[in-house]
Amino acid sequence: MALIDDLGKALDSSPGGSVILTSVDAIMDWSRGKSLWTMPMGTACCAMELIAASFSKFDFDRHGTIPRADPRHTDVMVVAGTITYKMAPAVQRLYDQMPDPKWVIAMGNCAVSGGIFYYDTYSVVRGVDEFLPVDVYIAGCPPRPEALQDAIFQLRKKVDSESVAPGRVRDVEYVLPLPGDPRAGDRIQALRDGGGRK
């Protein structure tokens, strides 16, 4: 990572370097965003939905989000479940073992805010963002796998806007239709009319 950072810094400061930088960014972000290997930090019932997301009905491998049990192989930690004060140091340690660049998805109400354990509880951390930098929050108790799918897409958007040069943000127009994107309707309608595939 150090070499890439130095390269980005050097390109960003040199005249005309940003032309090369955009191409480097495009390749880096494309490769990063299409293979977000997940660290399934499942501690409670949300983990069941996380497991269901990997299996054949939802099949998240097609998005490149392959679950790996080793934090050293992964890019994104999906915190799915209640984190207690005793568990928090272990989660922190697993997060520290992940190589940069790394992202965190807080899946479910417990990981977002403590959920039903917010009041009258002595042992539950009120949201995993008390000790981890969370990129995407998914509400739900537990959320459906489709919600996790949407979170992966939102995270991919965020990855696409990152640059190898520090402090630089890419202005990316997302080309794939996302859920909630007005363009998605047209494209789906075009597919229904038979005009989408030739």
């Binding site: 004060y85 005793k86 917010y118 009041y119 009258d120 509880t121 002595y122 042992s123």
Partner: protein, 153 residues
């Protein structure tokens, strides 16, 4: 074996334990003094109660009530063994050498209520962190990290 047969069986084997036997909600329970719990439990085990399924405690204010659930596969019956210990400096003899299953259950009761089990091989906290202050399942437990639920929820 139904509850009446169990009572008769118990009374014929251990007449001195018979008056302590009571039936609550259709289930037998044997309330003994804290000093006598170990010998009563030992008798129960010799009678054929070979499995300790649960150890827990109840905060009764001035005292803690310890509850042991012992069952017998042979007799197809189960009873509750109960004993009360004082809130100030609660001590009771460990049942680990009768049923090894008591080890972690007693650690949990120690963790949540602060009841000390004498003779336990490894009495330390099991669920909470080792540096935890206080015993959370006591009714008077206070924690600065705890947020009280407001009335309107």
């Amino acid at each position: 074996m139904n509850i009446n047969e169990l009572r008769e069986h118990l009374c014929s084997e251990y007449p001195d334990l018979c008056p302590l036997f009571s039936v609550e909600f259709g289930d037998g329970s044997l309330t003994v003094a804290a000093e006598r719990l170990y010998s009563a439990a030992s008798d129960m085990r010799d009678l054929g109660f070979d499995r300790l399924g649960m150890v827990t405690a109840v905060d009764r204010g001035e005292t803690f009530e310890l509850v042991y659930r012992v069952t017998s596969r042979e007799m197809r019956a189960g009873i509750f063994l109960k004993a009360e210990v004082p809130r100030e400096d609660p001590h009771i003899k460990s049942l680990c050498d009768l049923w090894p299953a008591a080890n972690w259950h007693e650690r949990e009761v120690y963790d949540m209520f602060g009841i000390v089990f004498d003779g336990h091989p490894d009495l330390r906290r099991i669920l909470l962190t080792d540096d935890w202050v206080g015993y959370p399942l006591r009714k008077d437990y206070e924690d600065e990290r705890m947020i009280r639920r407001p009335d309107y929820i």
